[in-house]
C-alpha cells in the first residue's frame, strides 16, 4: 500500500472518531478539543489532496480563531460543564434513522459521480494552484463579485462589533 494511503486511512479514522466524540463527550471543553482534532484531521486530508493553502487556512481559521474563541468563551463560564442528566432524549431512534438515510443518500449521489473511485490525478508540472486561486478571486469572469460581497459583509460585521462594544457616553 502507498504511504499516502496509509496516512489517509489513519487520519480518516482519527477525524471520524473525533467527530463522533464531539457530540458524545460529557464536558464542553472536551468537546471543543475533540472538534479541534476533527478539524485538524480535515486539514491533513487537504494536504493529501495537494491543497496546502486550504490546509493552512483550515488550521489558521478554524483552530486558531474559531476553536480558541470557543474555548475562551467556555472557560469564562463555570468550570465543570457537565450536564447531570442523560445525554439522550426520546427522539434518538428517529435521529439515528435520519442520519443513516442522509449518509446513504449522500453516498448514493457521490457514487453516481463520474470521477468516484478515481485515483488522485497528478498536478500538471508548473501548475501553481495558489496563484490560480488568487487570480480567480480577483478576475471579473470568476469569483470577483462573491469575493467582494464577502469582504463587505466582513467589514459590516466588524463595524457592527465595534458599535455594539462602544460605551455610550
Amino acid at each position: 500500500m502507498d504511504p499516502l494511503q496509509i496516512i489517509f486511512f489513519i487520519f480518516a479514522v482519527i477525524t471520524l472518531v473525533a467527530a463522533f466524540l464531539v457530540v458524545t463527550a460529557k464536558s464542553l471543553v472536551h468537546s471543543a478539543l475533540w472538534l479541534i482534532l476533527a478539524l485538524f484531521g480535515v486539514a491533513v486530508l487537504y494536504v493529501l489532496l495537494d491543497a496546502g493553502f486550504f490546509a493552512a487556512a483550515q488550521v489558521l481559521i478554524y483552530i486558531g480563531a474559531i476553536a480558541i474563541l470557543f474555548i475562551f468563551a467556555v472557560m469564562l463560564t463555570r468550570k465543570d460543564l457537565r450536564d447531570a442528566g442523560s445525554q439522550q432524549n426520546g427522539t434518538w431512534p428517529l435521529a439515528a434513522v435520519l442520519a443513516v438515510v442522509l449518509f446513504a443518500g449522500l453516498f448514493f449521489i457521490l457514487s453516481s459521480w463520474s470521477s468516484f473511485g478515481m485515483p488522485k490525478p497528478d498536478m500538471p508540472a508548473g501548475a501553481n494552484a495558489l496563484s490560480d486561486l488568487g487570480l480567480a478571486l480577483v478576475s471579473a469572469n470568476a469569483y470577483l463579485l462573491p469575493f467582494e460581497l464577502a469582504s463587505v459583509l466582513l467589514v459590516a460585521a466588524m463595524i457592527g462589533a465595534i458599535y455594539v462594544s462602544l460605551i455610550k457616553k
Binding site: D2, I36, G52, A56, A67, I68, F72
Partner: protein, 404 residues
Amino acid sequence: MEFLRDPISFIGNWLEGLLLGWKMAPSAATALIQLLGAFIVGTFSLALVIFTIWVERKLYARIQDRLGPNRVGPWGIFQTFPDMIKIFTKEYITPDGADKVVYNLAPILTVSAVILLWAVIPFARTVVGSDVNVGVLYIVAVGAIGTLGIIMAGWSSNNKYALFGAFRTISQMVSYEVPMVLALLVPVLLGRTMGINSLVEAQTVWFAVLSPLAALLFFFSAQAEIGRAPFDLLEAESELVAGYQTEYSGLKFGMFYVGEFLHAFTVSALTASLFLGGWRGPGAEQWPILGMAYFFVKTFIVYFFVIVLRITMPRLRIDQMLNFNWKFLTPVALVLLIATALVEKGLQLVGQDSMVLRTVVHLGMNLLIVWGTVEILRRSARKERQRVSEPRPVAIAPQTQASD
C-alpha cells in the same frame, strides 16, 4: 568534494540510492527519508536549545555583572547537562481535580508547535525541510497550535492563577498576531511568493533594507508572541505566581521552558530568513554549506538582540502592552501594508522594475511612515504633558463645603 559542498543533500541522495538498491518501493523510500529528515530537524532544534540556554544565561549574567555558569566544562558550556539530569529526576505532581489527559498533552503541544516551525525554515538553498508554497501562512497557522497548548495548560491545571495566566495569553497572543501577520505580508508582497525558501531567493536586496519598518514590526510582535520580557505578562510572578505553568513540575515544566527558549531562537531564524536574506551570501548558491553558515550567523545576531531586549527591558503593564499593540503596532502595520501594496503596483504599472529604484522608493516610503508616526507620537506626548501639568481639581471634604 561533492560531500563538502552540500553534505545534507549528498547524504539524502546516497541514502535514497541505498534504499532503492535494496528493492524498496520508490514512494516508501521517499516516505522513509522524509520521516528521517523530520526526525533529524526536530532533534537538531531541540539539541540546539541546550546550547542557546547556556548562551542566554551567560549573557544574562554578564549584563548583570555576574559570571554566570562557569563550573561544568570550559566557560560552563556543559552546565545545561547537569540541569537536564536534575529535571529528569524530579517528581511529577498532578494537582487534585486536574484534567489529566489535557494537563499532560499541553506541554507536548506547546513544544511541538515550535518544532513544527522548523519544517519550513531553509538552512541553505538545498537544505529545507519542506518548501511548501504557503510557508508564511503555515507559520501563522502553527502559532495557533502553540496558543492552544497554553490555554489547555491553564484550563486543565484546576488553578485560578493558571486560568488567569491563560486568559492573558489569549488576549496577548491573539492581539499580537494581528501586526505580526500584517508585517509578514510585506515580504510576501515584495517577494511575490509565500514560500519561505523562494522568499529568501527573492532577496537580492534584503527585505530589511527595502522595508525596515516591516522587519521591526515583525521582530517586536514576535517578542510578544514568544511571551518573554518585556512582554512576559503570561507568567508575571508578582501577580500570577507563574501563570499557566504554575502547577507544572519536573520535565513537564521543562517542556514549557524548552519551548520558550526554542521559540525565541526560531523567531530569530525566521527574522533572519524573511528579512536578512537567510542563507544568501557570497558563494552560497554554489556552496550550500556556506549558506548554512551565513544562516546561522545571521540567526545568532538576531538572537543576540532578542536576549538583550529580554535582559534590559522592564516588564510592561497589561494596559500598556495592549495599547502598544492596538494603538501603535497595528495602525502602523496597516498603513505600511497598504503603502507597500500601492508602491509595488505603482512601480509595476510604470514599468520600472529595477532593484535599485524599488529599493530607493520603498525605503523612502518607509522613512516617510516612520517620520509621520514619530510626528503623531510627539504631538500626543505633548498633549499628555500639558494634561498632566495642568492644576488638578482637589477633592474638598463635604463639611468644609457646608461651613461656607
